[in-house]
Symmetry: C2
Subunit: 146 residues, 2 copies
């Protein structure tokens, strides 16, 4: 059983829940995508296995609580997520014009964030940094003003 599957199973057991075939399938799908995904995307990946969209929606919060995925940007009215293991935390730069998403490492920001956390006695579970604006391609063109 893969690393994150073990982690998920442990988490589930602690809540008296089970690691079912469906849940394992969803977890696997989430880790097979190395970019953002939304519920629909996962569903597309596994619907062949007769997993319903409702189950995907039911599983997402579990993965979230288990600390295996994280909620990131919201695009087109849809929540988007990404897996965490082997996917170091990063900031998202979202272009308002072309909707490109650029990712950058958080390491430059982490020291300052952790310092703040200590001061607040806050236990960090998830960090989400989204910066919107115009990417280099769009800052001159498409949008003539601003």
């Amino acid at each position: 059983m893969i690393d994150h599957e073990v982690q998920f199973k442990k988490f589930l057991q602690k809540q008296g829940l089970k690691l079912t075939r469906n849940r394992a399938r969803i977890l696997e799908a989430a880790f097979s995508v190395h970019e953002h995904f939304d519920a629909e995307k996962l569903y597309d990946l596994i619907k062949a296995d007769n997993v319903s969209l409702a189950t995907v929606y039911r599983t997402l919060p579990l993965l979230l609580e288990a600390g295996l995925i994280t909620r990131t940007v919201r695009i087109g009215g849809r929540d988007r997520f990404e897996h965490i293991l082997g996917h170091p935390r990063h900031a998202h730069w979202l272009c308002e014009n072309c909707h490109a998403v650029i990712e950058t490492d958080l390491s430059a920001l982490l020291p300052a964030i952790n310092k703040e956390a200590r001061a607040l006695k806050f236990d960090i579970q998830n960090i989400s940094i989204n910066i919107s604006g115009l990417c280099w391609k769009c800052k001159g063109g498409a949008n003539d003003s601003q």
Copy 2:
């Protein structure tokens, strides 16, 4: 006319739009709340003036584009905003347990963010930093595990 009203009017004119009584009312409401608010909240504040919820929803994106408000945390499936003028940018620390929202200044992080932006040639319009976890009150109690 207040500062941010001037700003809004300018913005609207640039798009061939008008600063109507309703829009001014919504802007005013947005600036009267010194915390996060959602569409419904603004609506409650001004429905006595016969402004419809639809108009609130229609105006929010304008305020956003005009750089007068910013989208922050999403709670209970609702988009939340806050005004910007006189309300320096800050990070949000969201407690998963008691849902408290703590705000901290961004100044410690801005230099690093701006540096990154320069490297990416990215034009920042909006920065949203949300850190979730457990606040000091909840990290020991309520939730026995974790």
